[in-house]
Subunit: 150 residues, 2 copies
Amino acid sequence: MKYWEDFKIGEATDLGSCAITEEEILAFARKYDPQPFHTDPEAARQSIFGGLVASGWYTCALMMRLSVEAARREDAAATGSPGLDSCRWLRPVRPGDVLAGRTDVLETWPSKTRPIGFVRHRVEMVNQRGEVVMAIVGITMYQRRPGAAV
Amino acid sequence: MKYWEDFKIGEATDLGSCAITEEEILAFARKYDPQPFHTDPEAARQSIFGGLVASGWYTCALMMRLSVEAARREDAAATGSPGLDSCRWLRPVRPGDVLAGRTDVLETWPSKTRPIGFVRHRVEMVNQRGEVVMAIVGITMYQRRPGAAV
């Protein structure tokens, strides 16, 4: 099991990658972000994006799925998140794109009241041209190693 | 049509509300955030949350849907977002909760290069007990009024 104590500042992790399909862009957007440039390829052509683009929240959701799968591979004792310090949607995500995730540990600190610790990390989603399409600074909580002094 | 020029600092908008169901918590989490405290009511009881909780990204997605519906009611010319300055998941969201959204305009500034403007707003999701469960500071882009000098 990978506990909070095992995260080191500067540590980088590849999160793996996922392919973006028009079908999934449309399905997510129709449910959660029904703006025309996310739900209607024809209307999207007339928008400032010049074509269908994924909801930024869909890119967040895919980043989360990659993160959970990577944590499972590492057997990391993640136990939720208090939030994000920032999120930037830097470039459009379009059907046919392939996004890879990578994360770097920026900072770690223990909880003063509970047997958990916090890790601040930067996460980037990068497309098949090497362009960063989304950059997030977020915080994840991990269980402390059993027996750790709190 | 509500253009960028029509947003005033301090302006508050109710986004309406939505009910949280176990079925939707599970469906979202199994697809995008498959951590046991989001996907497995029994495992969740053993977690630090003491029961099933919604993925924070699901709360974000619902906030977005309420925002899009509110923008549609106002006929607002929203045209995407460069990102968030912060997001905090402050309290667990559980099955049976009812979340209401509200947003306040913090700041507005025009693009120097395109016929759009930016609005920085604070969005809160508040549960049926009046507790803020999520607070976001985000930026939305709106079209400029036709004929506006850029």
